[in-house]
Each structure stands twice: as C-alpha cells, then as structure tokens.
Amino acid sequence: MPEILSSLATGFATALAPLNLICGFIGCLLGTAIGVLPGIGPALTIALLLPITAKVDPTGALIMFAGIYYGAQFGGSTTSILLNAPGESASMVTALEGNSMARHGRAGPALATAAIGSFVAGTIATVLLTLFAPVIANLALKFGPAEYFAILVLAFTTVSAVLGSSMLRGLASLGLGLTIGLIGLDSLSGVARYTWGIPELIDGIEVVLVAVGLFAVGEALYGLLYQGEEAGSPHRLTSVWMTRADWKRSVPAWLRGTLIGFPFGSIPAGGAEIPTFLSYSAERKLSKHPQEFAANKGEGAIEGVAGPEAANNASATGSLVPLLTLGIPTSATAAILLAAFQNYNLQPGPLLFQTSGELVWALVASLYIGNTILLVLNLPLVGLWVKLLRIPRPYLNAGILVFATIGVYGMRQSSFDLLLMLAIGWLGVVMRRLDFPIAPVIVGMLLGPMAEKQLRNALSISQGDWLVFVTQPISAALLALTLLILIVPPLLHARGIRLQEHD
C-alpha cells in the first residue's frame, strides 16, 4: 500500500509537470470538442489523433490520449442530452432520459448530473484502478503462455458475444479480424503470410487503418445511404444548477452506477452497453418517482441520467485495468489505446509496471487530473459545444474524411493504405446494414497475433503436449469459463429464456 502511494506521488509529479499538464488539457479539450460531434466516439477520436505519437514523447502523448478518452465520452453525453444523438451505443440511455429532460426545460440539471456524475464515477474508478491494477499485474506475472492463451480465448469469446445482438454474427466479425491479423510476416518464423506479393502487405495492416475505415468512412457512407439527418435542434439552456432534490436523487445513483460499471469494465468482457443498461433498469426499479422516466412516458428522471452516465465512465476507467495489466483491450477504444502504446514499442502487460513504472503511474495520475480538468472545463463551456453542432452536415462529414486521410496516410505515407481504407469503409457499410458488430473485428486483429504467439510458446514449453491447457488449473478454469459463455446463452435461449432485452 505505501508503495502504491509513493508510486502515485511520483506519477503526480510527472503528470503535473507543465508540459504534461498542457498535454492533458489539450487532450480533454480536443476529446470533448470532437466527442460532441455526432457519430464520432472516443475510439475514432484517438485513431484520428494517433499521428501525434510521431512527435510527442510517450508520457505526454498517453496523458493526452487519456484526456481524449474521457473528454470524448463527456462530449458524447452533451450531444445525447441536447440533441438526442448518441455517438455510441453506451450513451443511448443518456439520450433517452436526458433528452426527455431537456425537452421539458431541464437541460441544465441533466447536463450537470452527467458531468458531476462522470467526475465522481471517474475518480472513484481511478482510485479502484490505483489499488487493484498493481495487484492484478503481480498476479499476471505468474501467468505463463498457456494461461495467457486461455485468457485471450476468453476475451475473444466474451467480446464477440457481448458486443452486438447475436453471438454468431459477433463471432463472424471476430473471424474477420483474426483473418486480417494473419496478414503479414509471421513473428516467429519470418514467413510472409497472405501478402499476395503486395509489398505493402508484408508489414501487415495497421489497426488504426481498419478502425478509421470502419468507423469514419463506413459511418459516413452508411449515413448517406440509409440515415437521413437527425431531426432535432439544440434546446435553450436553462440554469445549469441542480436543485437540492436533484442532488439528493443523483448522489446514490452515481455511486450505484460506479459500482455496476467498474467491474464490467475491468473483467475482460468488454462493452459499456451492459452496465449502462443494468444501471438504468436498477434506477427505474429503485426510484421513488418511476412515473418520471421517459420509458414510462414521463418528463425524464434525473436518476436515469446520473446512474448510466456514472456506469459508463466507471466502465471506461475499468477497461484500463485489463489493458494495462494484461495487455488485453476489451473495447474498441482500449484497442486503439493499445495501438498507441505499440507505436512507442511499449507492450502493456504485467511487465509494464516494472519496465515503465514511471509512465504508468503518470498515466494513472493524469486520470485524476483529467477528470478534474473536464469538470472545470465543461460546465461553463456547454454553450460553446452546442455552437459546434451548427457546422453544416456536408462540411462536418467532409472534414472528418480529411482528418481520416491524414491519420491513415501519415502512418506510412502510402496511397495503397488510403485505397485500403476506402475498401474497408465499404465493408463497414455492409456490416452495419446486416447488423454485424464492428468492435470484434478490431479486437480480433489485435489479439489474434498475440494468441498465436502464446499458443506456440506454450506448446514449445510443453514440448508439443496440448494437454498443457487443461492440466494447469488457471488455464483450465479460464477455458471452462469460455465454454460456459458459449454454451449457456443458446441453451437458455432454446428454453425460451432471454438474457438481454432487445428494445
């Protein structure tokens, strides 16, 4: 415990250095500004800004990305409440309840409870991260390749089962990601695989390229083909302040949301959707004013914004636990953050706390600072963000595509990559149209090569004995858990029991 505190103090010293503080501030500002724009979530924001890694030192850049990560979520809740335009599925509940409040003249308290709730949840979750991450990292040091392989298989399964409405389609997306991950040089033997003699493919395909193609280009094309402009106009802002009753109803909801969100983020299961929906239904059941909920045709209940927003932020912070301690991303955003680490030749995992301890603790400290910056920055600036939304749709989308081009071209200066991005964008349109989830593609292409390496290492150590995965207790338990996740939902489904609400 004293070690953690002293490490954290060193982290704060680094994060509070003027240059790093500026990085954090810029990250929060950029993240919020871009997150406010409809259709751009945190994953895309970070992907678009990855070229920054070319110039900024790792600590500064990662602090900036942490700011962007939080900021983009913050911005997303602003648009959800004011415009009913959720940028990602996790803000859908906020849009439902918060927009209803805004339409009845309570935009101010809705924005305030979302902002303060995010701060409270983010800070508590960061405290939990500070306490638990080193413990988990120490535990993870005991993991051999077999255990790692088992936990990667578990992550594959849960991510594809959880993100999206059908496990089979999730698995198909995962398979696509695994296939893309195969392209390029085999890390152990140096054989070029699936490159068809195209020199650009020998280095493999960049994760960021695929993410930008699927998210930015695919989203733009899909919007043109199938979705008209979102109807809705900014609402007049009422007082930002919450009443005493608002506070009394928000505080317990924030705490409950945090408690629901953090564990969901920190187990390698992925997705902020489930904790936000869980928190929402919990608030609806516990509320003394159920008639106010939008789902009950009410005017919008403040708990319905406070709880899910807190859950969303806590799960975002929680997802940094598996990312930093095991190197396993459980969401598209975490996957892009992992790519940012890899750009610096840093491999997140148990050893990161030992080899780059200073950086990790500075990052953790910057999470506390980032939360505070966001709170200070956003309450007064809401009016400005609303003005950003007045950019006409053609210019907004054209601008996003220009930034996508810089991001992708800047990585390798290759026209081929730009054409590939376009092709992947069209693939994204087809996937959206047929309701295939997109995040498993990104996760699959990042984790596939890792899984292969661990599998081969594990078998090398056991001298080719496949039983190594079932005879070692940890890996056997993890594989059994995977099997349960694959088998139980279809079984329940066959008996007429549904685990998820489809609404």
């Binding site: 110039k55 210019y395 595509l401």
Partner: protein
C-alpha cells in the same frame, strides 16, 4: 414472432463469402513451409485453425440464412432504415473523392488532394457550391498541413515539391 421461412440472398452471400475466405486461408496455409525451427508449431497451423473457425461460422450463418434469415435481426425491432433517395449518388461522390485523393496525393500534394476530397464529399452530402467547397477545403487543409507536417513532424506530401 413468426418469420416467413424463405432464403435471404444477402445473408446467404455473407455465409458463402465466409466459407470462401476459410477455403482461401486453408489453401494459403497449405503452402506455408511446415518447417518449425525452434517452435513446435509451424507458421501454417494457426491459419488452419482460423480457417476452420471461419468455416464453422460461415456454415452456421448460411444455415440461418436458408432457414429464414438471421436470428434476432435488427429488422424485427424496426431499427433498419430504408435506403435514402439520392444516397447512392452521394456515396459515389464520397467514394470518388477518397479514391481521387488516394491516387493523386503524391502527385499534387496533400493540400490540393485534401481540398478535392473535401469538395467531392461535401457535394456527396448535398452541398451544391463546388467552388466555395473547394476554397473551404483549401482553407482547412493548409493550416492542418502546417500543424501536422511542421508541428508534429508527420510527413505529408508538400504542395510545391510534388510539382517540381
């Protein structure tokens, strides 16, 4: 809910493409050297595993497509929207803008290529003032170019050198 039990061609096509991809992976894997070096598994084993995985998923998806479409699809909830009028033309403009930018970026420099992309996409999204859009594109691309190339050291093809 009752669903008409008819074959869904689009979904069957997805299943079939996954099976094709699986076959392509397997054929590719069979050509990798089986030599193992220091590891127990060669470079071909894991691709085989991915091929088998894709094959199983592809067959299951095809079976669902033949048996009346995906289970729990978005259509049931009414979330799937109809194609928009003019959407195809717009998407063609955006695609053309991206392709032009990709093909010309090393020849005419980043700023002009980005401005062309900006103008084409804005047109695709319904703007009808090409000259003004192009000018806005230049006004956006120039500062961004300076910021990224000089400020951040990202190498983007310059305007002048590309011409010389």
């Amino acid at each position: 809910m009752t669903r008409p039990r008819k074959v869904c061609p689009a979904q069957l096509a997805v299943g079939a493409s996954l099976i094709l991809m699986s076959a392509a992976l397997a054929i590719g894997a069979s050509r990798f050297p089986a030599e193992k070096g220091f590891t127990v598994l060669g470079a071909h084993v894991y691709p085989y595993a991915v091929a088998v995985f894709l094959g199983i998923v592809g067959v299951s998806i095809s079976l669902q497509a033949i048996g009346g479409g995906f289970r729990e699809p978005a259509y049931d909830s009414g979330r799937v929207t109809k194609a928009l009028p003019g959407g195809k033309t717009g998407a063609c403009w955006v695609t053309a803008g991206l392709a032009i930018c990709a093909l010309l970026i090393t020849h005419i420099g980043f700023v002009l290529a980005a401005a062309l992309l900006f103008a084409c996409s804005a047109h695709g999204f319904g703007s009808r003032r090409p000259a003004r859009d192009f000018a806005i594109g230049i006004a956006l691309a120039l500062p961004v170019y300076w910021l990224f190339s000089i400020g951040l050291g990202v190498s983007l093809p310059p305007l002048v050198n590309a011409w010389i």
